[in-house]
């Protein structure tokens, strides 16, 4: 009993990461990573939305407030959007979110990330998640002031 407890104490920091995927490209890319059995760290939880354009900045803030160590938004590459131009709004909104809110809150901008992943980029999805997880591990747990 005490042994397992001490084990727990030295256990590596495991970040809790939230990922928003659009249904048509990134969610399909995540599926392809699975079909291809590309392994990545188990720290993410995916919330599916129809379009990355649905991701309200308030979702990101809520997640950070609730204790997420990082949030990733992923959609179709620019030009590939199933809804024509939804991801362009995501991009613009994300830029604003990054430059204003994150900096005002003093949160490292690396914790909130935007990535375009297509349905055929299973490998890339796994790589992005691996990289993101490692980056957040290095940053350590998010402590909000």
């Amino acid at each position: 009993m005490s042994k397992s407890k001490s084990k727990e104490i030295i256990k590596e920091f495991e970040p809790e990461l939230l990922v928003f995927c659009c249904n048509w490209c990134s969610y399909a890319g995540a599926d392809l990573a699975g079909v291809s059995r590309f392994q990545y760290p188990p720290n993410i939880r995916i919330i599916r939305v129809m379009c990355s354009g649905r991701v309200d900045p308030s979702f990101v803030l809520k997640a950070l407030k609730d204790g997420a160590d990082g949030v990733l938004i992923s959609g179709c590459h620019i030009g590939d959007c199933h809804y024509i131009s939804g991801n362009e709004y995501t991009r613009d909104r994300f830029d604003r979110l990054h430059s204003i809110i994150i900096q005002q809150l003093g949160i490292d901008p690396k914790r909130v990330r935007l990535e375009w992943v297509s349905a055929s980029e299973g490998k890339r999805f796994a790589e992005v998640i691996t990289e993101f997880t490692n980056e957040i591990k290095e940053l350590g747990p998010l402590k909000l002031q």
Binding site: Y40, R54, G86
Partner: protein
């Protein structure tokens, strides 16, 4: 007559034809020779000129085919015999043994992972990758069913092994399967068999025999992230990154020695694409394109090839290749070629060579033609009944879709496929919906009120061992069962099997559930199945939620059972929290007015009108001029058939005028358009009525284009009547015949006047080269001793018979290539003109006199199209032509449902393509008319009026014009004011939710993905976990 259709070939042509046919009311048997649909497009990495991921845009269509109740998908089947005639064919079909029972296989892949490692090249990867003896052609295959290669399988060849049968938890392996023959009855047949690409068929000088010389399809697989090298640009011999990559154009096409006299049509464009993608994938690579003519004639095509050079640094050489030889030490390639700009013989060393080798008819085309009793053309493609209608084969009732008829790109294939579907709809119009089935759910829907306590049922799937081996399913069941509002949770082996559907219904009844969750594989393929099951149990389908614990959990955390188990639990708990807030949603049925408005009475508009009218719907055809015919009124003869334009036109106008269902309004103008799909109110001003009101269900834009008059350019003006445009020449030929040619000895035709420029009109207008060559033939026939000179930049003669036509014209005229940097100059002399031009092929300056100059100018959009676009609420592109919904897969649709597009209004095109597009647009439009109503999705945005501040941000961002601000009146005591509130049109909304994320006050949200529902998922993941512990 039969209300069903056989479609042969499951590539994009067959897929599009099948989907459109079912919507027009026909049952489809889709026969595909290989184990999956998808065809060539599934093999492509990206598509030009938008660099869209090919599979991303194709896969949703494949899935749609797979679950369409009116498409009987017959993969790994072949057509053996046909009998009968149009309307009543009997077809004998062979079902080849897969040795895997389709009804049982779940596509989990346990069999392949255990199958002994004896591997053969994977055909889908153009033999660059490997597969085992039990395999799936590619991960996104439809159907997702495995197949055994009987020549490789140890059990079938030697009677040993049998391991796949042992590991298959679904009991799907059946080594005893035998070929089965059976018959079906259909009213029409579509041939959509696609193409092959030359490799070893090429003569040795192209070097395909060397390891580091690949053809372009092989290179697509190399570039593809899910290809054999995972998207790394590597060369086959040593898997090293090549530095110099040479792309060889016309590697066998336009080449009579290779017996491919035609142009393969798409190579210039995909080469530019492959070079761009290469530069994106590997920064250190250098791309060199060895080109002949640069044929980039579609929308944004020419600009794309310029971008490849200017932005991506791809180098283009104008060359003639003599041979490619391997350096046996380094496996590099030495290309021997003539530099056409210097006339010198040079060599170039490349690490990898990509051949744009010929795209040729499918190997078994001859055999299939024999079975079907239809003809092939001289190139081996299926022969069309007439040049003007490429969709019909030589026998009535048999139709041609896509590359099987001749070289074409994807949008042309898609447009043609929609055209084929609508031609079949006219042939079999009496049989619409006679053979189709509509699933009617008999169980009445149980009322679920927001105040009802949620009673959630959860089913967690083991997927054989695919989930169960890596996730501790019983432990997760235990945890989930403890969550508030979870009435019952259990696990099972395969949630997708038919007995599981029965179990789900039982659970809903037994526990009186009002929400249901399945945690298994991906909702992208399985959500509709479970939703249907819920509906059968009386549960609104929006009360269902799916959790992906296989593709996004067990399969990607195979070595971390504890963490995977935790993740699965979290994901399901998040879904449970969302499920508590799920609301039943309504899908509304909207009636469609069974009539169409066609704007524009040229050949496109007339064809579209006739097609819709022949399907039995009312058509209103509006033309702004005094007569029908559009640009055809000014033509003399038609390319390439020497038919008189006036004969062709009269024939078509008669058909339109004599059709009872078509009302033609000449000299008329659209004044206003209101409404949305199914219910448009059109206001017209006609000759005798200033305000005629029409009600239509759908609109087709066929407004055509006009020839540019190059005022001031090349001395073109009223003062120089012997300098004229192509259209003016044709008008003169129509009016004056050949008499005026008496005094003319030499005629010079200048191509690319005002087109393909750096600024101004940057595009290639597609049809001008063929128009110019057509007129050379006519003039030469009228006066055989005429001297003809053609000043050109690149000749765009890309269709199957065009190259031969061009080759013949080289006997009639002298062709001199000039460049954009050195335009020809014209000087006026007494009775004629003096031309000075630099021939870029020999870098020599030429001077000569000429009696007549014909300027070949581009087609430009019709005037005042922005006005019409505004009324229709559809966009124009940067060049002023109408912008389609998607350049690849929706060439005839606008993003706004209900409005369609064809002919030169979309892009300059010839008569053949205009007719094909017009039929296609008619088909797209009549899908709605045939159904009589449309069902709106429940997954749409909704406005909370109390919160809405009427700022209009949502209206701005909506790509579908589904959101608008409406004035509403509010009364406060005795004051009434009018304020603006946002309104969502459920017929147009697609549920992307961009409006919701844009709204500054959170007043607009997508149903099923609303703020609270996503909010509780976030809370559940991050806050409830610690509570649970």
């Amino acid at each position: 007559m039969e209300g069903s259709v056989l479609v042969i070939g499951g590539g994009i042509a067959g897929i599009q034809t099948s989907l459109d046919l079912t919507e027009l009311g026909f049952k489809v048997y889709l026969v595909e020779k290989t184990p999956s649909i998808g065809g060539r497009m599934a093999q492509l990495d990206k598509t030009f000129p938008t660099n869209d991921c090919s599979l991303c845009i194709l896969a949703p269509k494949m899935v749609e085919v797979g679950r369409n109740p009116n498409i009987e998908l017959m993969t790994y089947h072949e057509v053996l015999e046909i009998a009968g005639e149009a309307g009543n064919f009997t077809v004998k079909i062979l079902k080849k043994p897969r040795y895997v029972d389709e009804s049982k296989c779940k596509g989990c892949g346990d069999c392949a992972s255990k199958c002994p490692k004896i591997e053969v090249p994977r055909l889908f990867d153009m033999n660059l990758g490997k597969r085992k003896s039990i395999y799936i052609p590619f991960p996104q295959a439809v159907p997702p069913v495995y197949v055994i290669d009987p020549e490789l399988c140890l059990k079938i060849t030697k009677g040993v092994c049998g391991v796949c049968q042992k590991v298959c938890k679904a009991d799907a392996i059946d080594y005893e399967q035998k070929p089965i023959e059976f018959e079906i009855k259909v009213g029409a047949i579509v041939v959509a068999t696609g193409f092959d690409m030359y490799g070893e068929e090429l003569s040795k000088r192209w070097g395909y025999q060397y390891e580091n010389v690949v053809n372009a399809l092989e290179y697509e697989r190399i570039l593809c992230a899910s290809g054999p090298y995972e998207g790394h640009v590597l060369r086959p011999s040593d898997k090293e990154e090549p530095r110099n990559i040479a792309f060889i154009q016309c590697a066998g096409s336009r080449d009579r020695q290779e017996d491919v006299p035609y142009c393969s049509s798409v190579c210039c464009m995909y080469t530019a694409k492959e070079a761009i993608i290469t530069k994106e994938h590997s920064e250190n690579s250098e791309c060199y394109v060895f080109r002949h003519d640069l044929r980039a004639y579609g929308k944004n095509f020419y600009e794309y090839t310029q971008r490849a050079q200017d932005e991506y640094g791809v180098t283009y050489f104008q060359t003639k290749i003599s041979k490619i030889i391997e350096d046996s030490k380094t496996n590099d390639l030495v290309i021997h070629y003539e530099n056409l700009q210097t006339g010198k013989i040079e060599t170039f060393k490349a690490n990898l060579v990509v051949l744009a080798s010929p795209l040729v008819p499918k190997k078994d085309s001859k055999e299939l033609a024999k079975i079907l009793g239809i003809e092939l053309d001289k190139y081996g493609f299926f022969k069309e009944q007439s040049y003007y209608n490429k969709s019909k084969a030589s026998k009535k009732g048999i139709f041609l879709s896509g590359f099987a008829q001749g070289p074409m790109d994807i949008p042309e294939t898609v447009a043609g496929s929609s055209g084929v579907a609508s031609e079949i709809a006219t042939l079999l119009s009496s049989e619409k919906f006679s053979n189709t089935e509509e699933k009617i759910i008999e169980t009445p829907e149980k009322e679920v009120k927001p105040s009802d306590e949620p009673r959630i049922g959860v089913l967690i799937c083991h997927c054989g061992i695919n989930i169960g081996k890596y996730v501790d399913v019983p432990k997760v069941v235990e945890k989930i069962n403890k969550l508030p509002n979870v009435t019952h949770c259990e696990d099972n082996m395969y949630s997708c099997s038919s007995d599981s559907q029965e179990r789900i219904k039982e659970m809903i009844k037994e526990y009186n559930l009002n929400r249901f969750i399945v945690a298994s594989c991906t909702p992208r393929t399985h959500e509709p199945l479970f939703q249907e099951t819920c509906e059968e149990a009386g549960l609104n389908k929006y009360l269902f939620e799916m959790v992906n614990i296989r593709d996004q959990c067990s399969w990607v955390h195979m070595k971390e059972k504890e963490a995977a188990t935790q993740k699965a639990e979290d994901l399901i708990r998040m879904a449970v929290s969302k499920a508590r807030l799920l609301k039943p949603q309504n899908e509304e049925n909207l009636k469609i007015e069974p009539s169409a408005l066609v704007i524009g009475g040229g050949i496109s508009g007339m064809t579209a009108a006739l097609n819709i009218a022949n399907q039995g719907f009312e058509v209103h055809l509006v033309e702004k001029e005094e007569e029908l015919g559009g640009i055809l009124n000014n033509l003399y003869e038609l390319f390439p058939n020497e038919d008189k334009a006036s004969d062709f036109l009269v024939e078509n106008i008669e058909k339109v005028e004599n059709h009872k269902k078509i009302k033609t309004y000449l000299h008329s103008k659209i004044k206003d358009i209101k409404g949305y799909i199914g219910n448009y109110n059109i206001s017209l001003s006609t000759l005798d009525n200033d305000k005629l009101e029409l009600k239509v269900g759908t609109i087709i834009v066929a407004t055509g284009a006009q020839e540019l008059k190059p005022e001031g350019n090349f001395l073109y003006s009223d003062e120089n009547p012997k300098i004229m445009t192509q259209l003016e020449l044709e008008q003169k030929l129509t009016k004056d015949g050949d008499k005026w040619l008496k005094d003319i000895k030499r005629i010079t035709t200048i191509l690319c006047v005002n087109s393909r420029q750096k600024e101004g009109i940057t595009y290639c207008s597609n049809i001008c080269c063929s128009v110019a060559l057509k007129n050379i033939r006519i003039l030469k026939e009228m006066k055989p001793n005429l001297e003809m000179i053609v000043l050109y930049r690149d000749l765009q003669m890309a269709k199957k018979e065009f190259e031969d036509f061009y080759r013949e014209r080289r006997q009639d005229a002298m062709f001199i290539r000039y460049s954009l940097n050195n335009l020809p100059s014209i000087e006026k002399k007494n009775n004629n003109y003096h031309i000075n031009v630099i021939n870029t092929n020999l870098q020599q300056e030429l001077e000569f006199d000429t009696d007549l100059i014909i300027l070949t100018t581009p087609l430009i959009p019709e005037d005042n199209m922005d006005e019409l676009a505004k009324m229709l609420k559809v966009p124009l592109d940067g060049t002023g032509f109408f912008l389609e919904a998607h350049v690849k897969l929706r060439p005839l649709d606008f993003a706004t449902d209900g409005i369609f597009l064809c002919g030169c209004a979309q892009w300059p095109k010839n008569i053949q393509d205009s007719i094909s597009q017009a039929n296609g647009a008619a088909g797209r439009a009549s899908r709605f008319l045939s159904a009589g109503e449309i069902t709106t999705s429940g997954l749409i945005s909704e406005v909370n009026e109390a919160l809405c501040i009427g700022c209009g941000k949502c209206e701005e961002v909506c790509p579908y014009q589904a959101v608008e601000l409406r004035e509403i009146e509010k009364t406060f005591e005795d004051i009434t004011i009018s304020i603006k509130k946002s309104y969502v049109n459920s017929a147009l909304c697609k549920g992307c939710g961009t409006c919701g994320a844009t709204c500054p006050v959170g007043a607009i949200s997508v149903k099923h993905y609303d703020f609270d529902q996503i909010g509780v998922m976030i809370d559940s993941y991050l806050l409830e976990k610690t509570q649970a512990e």
